[in-house]
């Protein structure tokens, strides 16, 4: 409960310091002629002050544990989330190398399968979606990378 408040607060404080330092470097120049760094600096300062307030407030509220996260302790499926994120990043890296059609097909195939669909469903869904999106978006003039195999450029 305390951790729940303190972790994000520390993060905000870190962020605000980061922002303040970099915006100071950009140049503040003063209020009559605001420089590029002035606005972010002021915002960073505000963020720092508010986080300090929250931090102190949370530290003082020892043992008052009335603010629980509220989520039930169900088994959170972090594995699935990790897989999806990995798939997303992989797609980003591979799209321009392998081309739209191949990358999309693999992406869809992996995701459909990991969601527990049967093989047949996965194949049909992956193929049809890949084609449908390709045709629809190309119709609107969107251009996709052909990749090294030159497919779907």
């Amino acid at each position: 409960m305390k951790k729940y408040h303190i972790i994000p607060t520390l993060f905000w404080m870190g962020l605000s310091l980061f922002v303040m330092i970099f915006s100071y470097r950009l140049g503040l120049r003063g209020f009559h002629n605001p420089g590029p760094g002035l606005a972010p600096f002021v915002l960073g300062l505000l963020l720092l002050l508010i986080s300090l307030y929250v931090l102190i407030d949370a530290l003082l509220k020892k043992g008052r544990g009335d603010e629980t996260p509220g989520e039930g302790q169900s088994r959170t499926n972090y594995g699935k989330i990790g897989l999806v994120l990995a798939a997303l990043f992989a797609y980003s890296f591979l799209l321009e190398r392998l081309g739209f059609l191949i990358t999309t097909w693999i992406f869809l195939f992996l995701l459909f399968r990991s969601m527990g669909n049967r093989w047949v469903t996965t194949l049909v869904a992956s193929t049809s979606t890949m084609l449908a999106t390709y045709l629809v978006f190309t119709f609107f003039g969107v251009r996709f990378p052909p990749g090294i195999f030159g497919l779907g450029g």
Binding site: Y4, I7, P8, L15, V19, F22, S23, L26, G27, G30, H32, N33, P34, P36, G37, L38, A39, P40, L43, G44, L46, L47, I50, Y53, V54, D66, P69, G70, E71, S74, T76, N77, K80, I81, V84, L85, L88, F89, Y91, S92, F93, L95, E96, T104, F107, L108, L111, F112, M115, G116, N117, A125, T129, V136, F137, F140, G141, V142, R143, P145
Partner: protein, 499 residues
Amino acid sequence: MDIFSGLLSGFQITLQPVNFLYCFIGVFIGTLIGVLPGIGPTGAMSILLPTTFGLSPVSSLIMLAGIFYGAQYGGSTTSILVNIPGEPSSIVTCLDGYQMARQGRAGPALGIAAFGSLIGGTFSIIALMFLAIPLSEIAVAFGPAEYFSLICMSMVFSVYLARGSFVKAIIMIIVGLILSTVGMDLVSGRPRFTFGCGTLIDGIGLVPAAMGLFGISEVLMNLEESLDRVVFKAKVKNLLPNLEDWKRSIGPIIRGTLLGFPLGILPGGGAIIASFVSYSIEKRISKNPEGFGHGAIEGVAGPETANNAGAGGSFVPLLGLGIPPNVVMALLMGALIIHGVAPGPLMIKQHPEIFWGVIASMYVGNTMLLLLNLPLIGMWVKLLKVPYRILMPLILLFCVIGSYSLNNNIVEVVIMIIFGIAGYILRKFEFEAAPLMLAFILGPIWENAWRQSLVISEGNFSIFLEKPISCAALVLAAFLIITSGFKYYRKTKTKVIIE
């Protein structure tokens, strides 16, 4: 030419087969654009602009305008169905619209959004007819100082968007403002917080950020639970809003229209400001504000009406003054100029057929949109019945293509993913994305207004209080903060007592 004969001649023009066709094409494409991620109305309009060279000015304008307000209709569809805002002015619709969809009430949500949009849109056209010129005078009364104060006030309003803690919402707003400073500073030419990344030179893209923060994070949240948890309630109750829904929505719709139109006139974020001010007001005056954020239909009716009324309002500066209040209007203005017509007060005198033709086409277009969208509700609802294990990869692909297709830039997709992760983490710690997003959108305007005001006043902050409109807005904002502060303080006090 008085109004009625003008309108009559306008209808005659619009109902000619050619123009009628172009109106339909425009609204149809607009709806598609609003639904599909990534491509926005500006993109579609600029792609289609060359095709209008061969047409008469009226036909071109009718079609392009149709795309614009058509997109407002389509944008709310994805907000409600998958929590992905198709348009910035539909961000607020995600809050309650999506919740309604999860409760099996996607039909009524879509329906009330469509009807509200029609009412808001139609009313704003009527107002446009009568008030275009006088209202444009109001538009120019807003200078840098007024904008700054107005946006401050709007941000205070947006704290009401949060379902939870006051302080957390404020933090989200500040972070949103900070994020909006990323990119090249137009005043000095220096890049800020880009760290050498070329894609960031124009700031963090709105589309990747919104899709990530709302869409991807939602998907990640849904993945947490085991797969048999149903995301969308299978039993869809009705397809259309029932009597109870209408009763609750009438107020928000009326208020949304009255609010939306004037706010839409203001250059900058007019329609967006309209949507979330409407939400905040509805939440404030509602008899059970806790229902907001969990599927309150007022939270859909008000904002959707307001944003369409605002879209109509944004025509006011263009037609009344020749000043485009946003990028879309700038494009329309460009189209008119290419056809040899300079929009402005003289246009009504010199080319009445254009003015009235467009106005009449907006009536026709809005009606077409309603007729287009209502039957589609059935289709959309069926879509939600598809099991989530099939829906999820589609939603993800949708988002990815949407982000990529903006600029054929894969970095934008990565930005989207990062925002998705951020959004997910924020939600776990009970921070809300909506205030952040809105601050992010308004940030640039806010900062520019602030800097301009200070240059004009030579560093003197009293300029914000000296100018009447600005002062009024700030006073209102302060008032809101104080009264909410009281409520919050009293609540914590009572909590302590109860314990």
